[in-house]
Amino acid sequence: MSRETMEYDVVIVGGGPSGLSTAIKLKQLDANLNVCVLEKASEIGAHILSGNVFETRALDELIPNWKELNSPIKTKVTKEKFLFLSKNKSLSWPTWLLPSVQKNHNNYIISLANLCRWLAEQAEALGVEIFPGFPASEILYNVDGSIKGVSTQDMGIDKEGNKKDSYEPGIDLKAKVTVFAEGCRGHLGKQLIKKFNLNNGKDPQQYGIGFKEIWEIDEKNHEEGLVMHSAGWPLDNNTYGGSFIYHAENKQVFLGYVIGLDYKNPHLSPFDEFQRFKTHPAIKRIIDGGKRISYGARALIEGGLQSLPKMFMPGGLLIGCDAGTLNMPKIKGSHTAMKSGIIAGEVIYEHLKNNKDLSIYEEKFKKSWVYDELFRARNVKPSFSWGLILGVIFTGIDQILFRGKLPFTLKHKHADHETLKQANEMPKIDYPKPDNIITFDKTSSVYLTGTNHADNQPVHLQLKDPNLPISHNLIKYDEPAQRYCPAGVYEIQKENDVNKFVINSQNCIHCKTCDIKEPSQNIIWVTPEGGGGPKYGNM
């Protein structure tokens, strides 16, 4: 059956900060361009999760009068704290001793999901067509190997792959340029990096898993505009990670934890580390008497410049966290993602108007402030492979004394799926039971995400080898998927004394951690039916 085709000048995959910035920039440069944005979530913002302390630099360039347009950027950062935690104690690090990249006095505490909703309104007002609920599931190529566009997912397919009564075929979207802006570990971006060798000569990409909860807290503990970060407990010296606590408006705090996915102990459960973190006296004090109202998790990209793939290819661009433009020491990726999207808009405009090759992206990117930022930031994350203490000392020298301009570049040596040690070599971790006041289990947490996938559809978490979880992972690593998944998708169940690997794909919150951390790269995350996944509000 031939599929319907729609043609656009530019098709953008993903309605996050980078993709929406490209769309807006393009329409600003030429209102006659036909631009569409595909988004897998049921609405823009519903799959967006971020801290977020927002630096407005890219937005100032894109929409200079954003303050007059009722944007959801309201809470200015007023005060900062950095804590080193030991099990029961906390040491406050003086802010004057923080590297300037970690100073936030001109920034704002925002919900990135709400910012994206607002950006989508701006884009639509300029004539961009936005289609939420339509995941791009496949890349289409021309005969010469260049990118022709994407096709959207078929809908109404049952578990076995048969067409249901409600079957609705996906359609082919053809474009002069296709922009991939799926966010960290996009499933099409991953294919492009492989097909066009975009990471040739680059270090392996590095990732983290980030958790976020929104709490409504007691007025007396709330200090609007306060930004607090911590390092240390409950993680050991060799595991990379830390927390954020941002006091937003309406007595809310955005509380989160990020753990590098290069952790070694297969018994480690990032979710439980985050829950345990909240029991520290310095943290518990803040949320005591409060109420958790949201939960979510998402992988983030941490490799920086050394791991940043080439961002252009014939007929396409790869931008934002789909490529990996996050600035790790700044713990910020939104402004860099937006800037990479703005540059994409400019490049595509020149490509369509003056027939310039898309490869001018590289030069434009190198001349921009994003490159400068990422260059100065490049040595921070790899230095933490020596442990927290040495990492902090090195970062102090690198960032404060040399402002990121040391004459060498540290390398990322391993991909995150290669770092796990065998289960029997590593200590088991005894996590405390949730008290359902401060700490919770995965089930009640996922409940808050509003996650759902239509019943009776193919499992969107595919196993290359269906036996591997039991025959290999369980023996060697005590199947870490049970622990690294923040939504309890993967379980080992015993049936008549036989172990069975169960995938509860309807719980999947689209964080992509399994696709990254599975030691044999055996799990492949593909797009489920449109509109599936979490329904985050102001995350």
Partner: protein, 249 residues
């Protein structure tokens, strides 16, 4: 035949509802909104009847705030021909909605009015019945199967005892159950086409309907948390506990 379908914009069924701190209602800011699920069944059935050649036109109507236009647009994307949005801000009770629908029916003169059996936000299950009374039309509620005949409908109803089949003369009101059909997906080309379909904008005052709430809402609060369960060792213990503690048998 002409079918009018009423659709309501509600908080999406997957979203966990949160009560406002002051007890004045539930949080709707930045919350995903969708079409009331059984209203999707109502639209689907109307479109199916049109596709079978038994109806000429399907009109989708919604009553609510400006953004309810999205809900009408969604109905247009799955096959309704045109839309009507009656703008009202704040709470609109079923009586006000049915009075508005009465005016629309008098204007549009449809042969059938379809809607969901109830809305998942207030769970009232009243609008269809009230509209039937106002128009003095027959009604078939909780429809899980509709067979269109010449001048009547044969409707299977989901009732407490099982299924009940009745015949109603046209014009009639039908409220739809989730079992009626499986709503189709809106395809991209149809969403594009729906953007060009007309939506007539009216206000309640244009229609001369007073939407002032007749019910005073005192307080909204969350249901009490469920207590943790216990495990019993034997059937005897279970029976004994049901008898003496729960006092249900």
């Amino acid at each position: 035949m002409k079918i009018l379908v009423a659709v309501k914009r509600v908080i999406d069924y997957n979203v966990q509802i949160r009560v406002k701190e002051d007890g004045s209602g539930v949080v709707t800011d930045n919350v995903k909104m969708s079409t009331n699920p059984p209203d999707d069944n109502a639209i689907e059935e109307a479109v199916k009847i049109k596709e079978s050649g038994k109806a000429k036109e399907v009109i989708a109507v919604s009553v609510g705030e400006e953004k309810a236009q999205d809900t009408v647009r969604k109905a247009l994307a799955v096959g309704a021909d045109r839309g009507i949005l009656v703008k009202v801000d704040g709470i609109v009770e079923p009586l006000a909605v049915s009075k508005i629908l009465q005016k629309i029916v008098e204007k549009e003169k449809p042969d059938l009015v379809f809607m969901g059996k109830q809305a998942i936000d207030d769970d009232c299950n009243q609008t269809g019945q009230m509209l039937a009374a106002l128009l003095n039309w027959p009604q078939a509620t909780f429809a899980s199967k509709i067979n269109v005949k010449d001048k009547s409908l044969e409707v299977t109803r989901e009732v407490d005892e099982g299924l009940e089949t009745i015949e109603v003369n046209v014009p009639a009101i039908v409220t739809c159950d989730l079992r009626l059909n499986e709503p189709r997906y809106a395809s991209l080309p149809n969403i594009m086409k729906a953007k060009k379909k007309p939506i007539e904008q009216l206000s309640a005052s244009d229609l001369g309907v007073d939407t002032k709430p007749r019910i005073e809402q005192i307080k909204v609060e969350e249901p009490p948390k469920r207590k943790a369960g216990i495990k019993v060792a034997s059937v005897e213990e279970l029976v004994q506990k049901l008898k003496n503690e729960a006092k249900v048998i």
